[in-house]
């Protein structure tokens, strides 16, 4: 389904601000799998998602989606196959347009946009039903500007928009991080519903140990631009937030040891 072959990405290469964000990531994501990506700050998890979405081109390596080489495809071309929910609720919607207009835009994701009416009566009815099914009580506010909604409501609608045309791959980039706990729970519940209902292949980045442990059927842990753990099957089902914290502690200890070793070498040779 999605093959990520040894991709590397360095930002500001050759400058004092050089960041080696991805240092050779290899992953194969099967159709219908729900993959959670976790990692410390700067581990490259969001960069991985952005590389798949096409926000930038990788320096080396290959990306294949459904057997097609998409490595050099721009973001708008990949959008035909990829649905996306951003971390910031304000990034995923056009604030001055109405809820219905935002949904109409999503109903044409990756397709030709011609001079047909964006909001036909049939489409309005379909949207009413889709929004009503979410249970947020927004179905009678389709004519309201989406910018007037709360972050949680906007993120829920962004999720609906991402799945309006069934995507081959759904990318969720810490999509509950900017929400209050209640809204975050609501969005997670909707996320699970959408993914299971449409059997979507999903790549979800999260900072929450709880979400990482209990959601998805596979977990990838990244550190410094590399995948260090790939947990799936029964191991993933048994995983608890405490296990994940232990694994992060291991990483932290190893990094500290690395730093001590580096300091010792520095003292020895400088």
């Amino acid at each position: 389904m999605l093959d990520i072959e040894n991709i590397k990405k360095t930002f500001h290469a050759g400058t004092p601000n050089e960041v080696r964000a991805l240092q050779g990531v290899d992953l194969r994501i099967e159709k219908g799998s729900f993959v959670i990506v976790i990692g410390t700050n700067g581990s490259g998890k969001s960069t991985l998602l952005n590389a798949v979405a096409g926000s930038f081109f990788v320096d080396t390596g290959k990306l294949r989606l459904k057997g097609q080489d998409i490595t050099r495809w721009p973001e708008h071309r990949r959008a035909k196959y990829i649905g996306r929910v951003f971390q910031n609720p304000f990034t995923g919607t056009a604030p001055s347009l109405t809820i219905a207009e935002n949904l109409a835009l999503a109903a044409k994701r990756g397709r030709m946009r011609g001079l047909g009416w964006a909001l036909s009566a049939a489409r309005r009815d379909e949207m009413y039903e889709r929004v009503r099914a979410m249970g947020l009580g927004l179905e009678n506010r389709l004519g309201n500007a989406i910018g007037s909604l709360s972050g949680g409501q906007r993120q829920s609608l962004t999720l609906l928009m991402a799945g309006l045309i069934k995507p081959d791959l759904l990318l969720l980039d810490e999509h509950t991080a900017a929400l209050d706990p209640k809204s975050a729970d609501q969005v997670i519940r909707l996320t699970e519903e959408v993914i299971h209902r449409d059997n979507l292949t999903t790549l979800m980045v999260t900072h929450s140990m709880h979400q990482a442990a209990y959601l998805g059927d596979r977990l990838i842990m990244m550190v410094r631009g590399k995948v260090i753990h790939d947990i799936r099957g029964a191991d993933k089902q048994r995983l608890t937030p405490e296990d994940l914290l232990d694994r992060f502690d291991e990483v932290r200890r190893a990094e500290l040891l690395d730093e001590s070793a580096a300091e010792m070498l520095e003292r020895q040779y400088v």
């Binding site: 708008h76 935002n102 835009l105």
Partner: protein, 308 residues
């Protein structure tokens, strides 16, 4: 009364400019300074073609295409060559000054005996024909011209409103609202921006062509201060209609252009030195910009004072 009719007519013609500016500044959030060059280009192309004996409708159509071409160039510079939008507009505007001189062959081109859309409409009736409106005798020819311009504006406004309700138009509105979002939904933002600037400057080219035909001459300087004119119309219009809905923005921009033209005419009538016109124009725009926020502050203070 004649002055009032001509004020309305010019206000309505320049409403096309305001609609173009509405697309670039408000819908695409692109600070497009091509305007000053493309309105002149539209006028120059139209005048040169009329001078060469072309049909006025074809000449007007060519002016629209010329304006659209100018907008396309600005769009390409900004998106394909990654030049700052403001700078891209300045570059095209500067280049168009020479292009306009080349098109016209000189800095001023009077249309003395050429058949234009305006003269054609005027010739539908005799110059002696008068309409009695209130206490005034109004030349029927001028009423006809005003009617033609009004019908044209209504057609353009309806077409624009309809366009922004289509899938393509909606994607264009979203491009100015949230570029990241619309890109993630499969729209090539650069192409959309270029198309928007082409439509915007096409309308501005049309404004130039009609203005030249109405005034009876083309001048290389007619674009001077037109960005401010367009902005003022859009801002005044927003204040008048008090809504950011698409239909209301279109109506507001048309109203804004006419009101702005009226303000200028009143100022001139009260003895304003024409040399001070641009200064007064800038003051009007400043007032229109600060009035809504100043009004809000006054309203809040009054509310507080009353509560105390």
């Amino acid at each position: 009364m004649n002055l009032l009719l001509s004020t309305y007519a010019v206000g309505l013609i320049l409403a096309l400019l305001a609609l173009g500016v509405l697309i670039s500044f408000r819908i695409l959030a692109f600070r497009d300074l091509t305007v000053e060059g493309s309105i002149t280009l539209g006028g120059a192309v139209c005048a040169a073609m009329l001078f060469a004996g072309w049909n006025p409708i074809l000449a007007t159509g060519a002016a629209i295409l010329a304006g659209a071409a100018a907008g396309t160039v600005t769009g390409i510079l900004a998106t394909r060559f990654q030049i700052n939008g403001l700078l891209a507009g300045i570059l095209v505007m500067t280049a168009l000054y020479s292009v306009n001189l080349r098109v016209m062959g000189r800095s001023n081109l009077p249309l003395m005996n050429q058949r234009t859309i305006v003269t054609t409409v005027r010739n539908f009736t005799s110059p002696e024909n008068k309409w009695h409106i209130g206490n005034w005798d109004v030349p029927a020819q001028e009423v006809y011209v005003l009617g033609m311009v009004s019908v044209l504006i209504i057609v353009v406004a309806c077409a624009m409103y309809a366009f922004f309700r289509t899938n393509l138009g909606l994607a264009m509105r979203a491009t100015g609202d949230n570029e990241n979002m619309i890109r993630a939904l499969g729209v090539e933002v650069g192409w959309m921006l270029t198309l928007g600037l082409a439509i915007s400057n096409g309308l501005i080219g049309l404004a130039g062509a009609l203005l030249v035909q109405y005034q009876g001459y083309a001048d290389v300087q007619i674009g001077l201060g037109m960005v401010v004119w367009g902005l003022a119309s859009v801002i005044i219009g927003e204040s008048l209609v008090g809504s950011r809905q698409m239909g209301m923005l279109i109506i507001g921009s048309i109203m804004g252009s006419v009101v702005f033209r009226l303000l200028v005419a009143i100022a001139l009538r009260w003895g304003l030195n024409p040399n001070d016109l641009k200064l007064v124009t800038a003051v009007f725009v400043f007032a229109a910009l600060v009035a809504p926020s100043a009004g809000e502050i006054v309203r809040k203070r009054l509310g507080k004072a009353i509560a105390q």
